[in-house]
Amino acid sequence: MIKLGEISINDKTSLVEARNKIRILAEELKFGSITATRMATTSSEISRQMMNTGQASSIKLALDKRGGRYGLVLQFITQGRPSSAVSIALLQTVFDYFEVSQIAEGSESIKNFKFLHDPEFKPTAEFIDRAMAIIQHLTLEELVKVVKRRTTELEAKTVELEQTNIRLQEASSHKSQFLASMSHELRTPLNSIIGYTKLMLDGLEGALNEEQRKDLQTVYTNSKHLLNLINDLLDLAKIEAGKMVVCHQTFTVSELLAEVIPTIQQLAEQKGLHFAHFVPPNIDNLYADKVKVKQVLINILANAVKFTNEGSVTLNVADDDSDFTFSVTDTGIGIRKGNLEMIFDSFKQVGPANIAGYEGTGLGLTISQQFIEMQGGRIWAESELGKGSTFTFTLPKQKAAAS
């Protein structure tokens, strides 16, 4: 509720004044002159009846919302029981709602509400100032003072906001700096862990027995996983800091696939899965961020392989006048309906959650979604539990700026 002011009624003069103020305010609120006049005369009539009970009274004015729409609130407050003395019927003819209540011992309120004609009305600071000025009956000089005070306040606020903005930018830059050096510090020991483990696995330090090989493979897989996690976290932090830049370039679908298919083919073969991809012969060239598109494609293809134990993984690429569509279908474990919405959220791996063999950082799809949306595309998933999933993303066709 936005309080606009209060008018005291204690004599005939104040009654006339109240009538004028309410009429002017009602006109300001675009009620139309007939409604404004009726509202004003009804209010002064009610006030007169209340005054006749011999008690001091007042009218509080405010703006309030009912069902998302603004209306004017006129609240009559008096000692005694005005509801028995005043003509309720009169109020009903003017207002949309009214409510009689006891606000204190021996004091009663009649609160009336009338919707503004304009359902879209939103009170601005200037409007509230003007309304308050009407009710308080400010002189022009006083009005100027109010405006000046508000201007000063606004100027102070602006300076404050600018300072806050600078502080936030500094904090964000410190955070990025911290993440960059953290990532550097974490990669340095990982260089030794991953490097020496690989050296031994490759047999460069002598033959390994089966048990040693298995143990070292575990070290290697887990250290690679840790590295992926660091990479993903860094990506996500960059996205959140708004530092992720989209670099568009022109490239062909086959160029893109040449960098993706061998890795996926190998992963699929390791699990005995059939991997196929279909691309129409005359597909247009892409104009997009190749690195990011590649990362997304690898992510959803690797996911498909990861969550499929038998059958196939299929990539379909297509285009129409406006978009490219990449979709990856698998015959894997699938995703429960209720979980489809959640899979793009950070750190959520759903389905038969967190079972051994399905480890991941849980950030891949979040990053994929961000990368695709950054380029004006969409990504979504369809799935049936136990039958498989289809992940699809689109990229709008954009032409390199002809300059």
């Binding site: 550097h184 990982l190 260089n191 460069l204």
Partner: protein, 137 residues
Amino acid sequence: MGDGVEKEGAVKKILVVDDKEDSRRLVRKVLTPHGYAVVEAASGEEAIHMSLTELPDLILMDVRLPGGIDGLEATRRIKALSQLTHVPILAVTASVLPADAQKALDAGCDAFVRKPIEIDELPKLVAKHIRRASAVN
């Protein structure tokens, strides 16, 4: 195997610059089986000195080095020497910032290797840059 030995039998020499002994040892263990001779420097200053005395065929230069001369400064100084200007220098860094990659290239590095190093890829990259440098000369 044997990328470092040319048909004439001249063994290619690689200078590995890193302040951490285990990082240097790792690169040595990765490159030696490919027939390279590996020499090591632990600071920027030492790197410049050894470039002149050892005349390596390629330098793997860690960017972040303690002391006054970091990897970028060492690269600038080595590239400024006429007898060494043709020696390919690969910057090695754990940084993922594109700005750092650019700085390395601006300093005169021929390429950029990210830590953790891919030990299957490193010998190929080294061989490629040595081939390219000898083709130019």
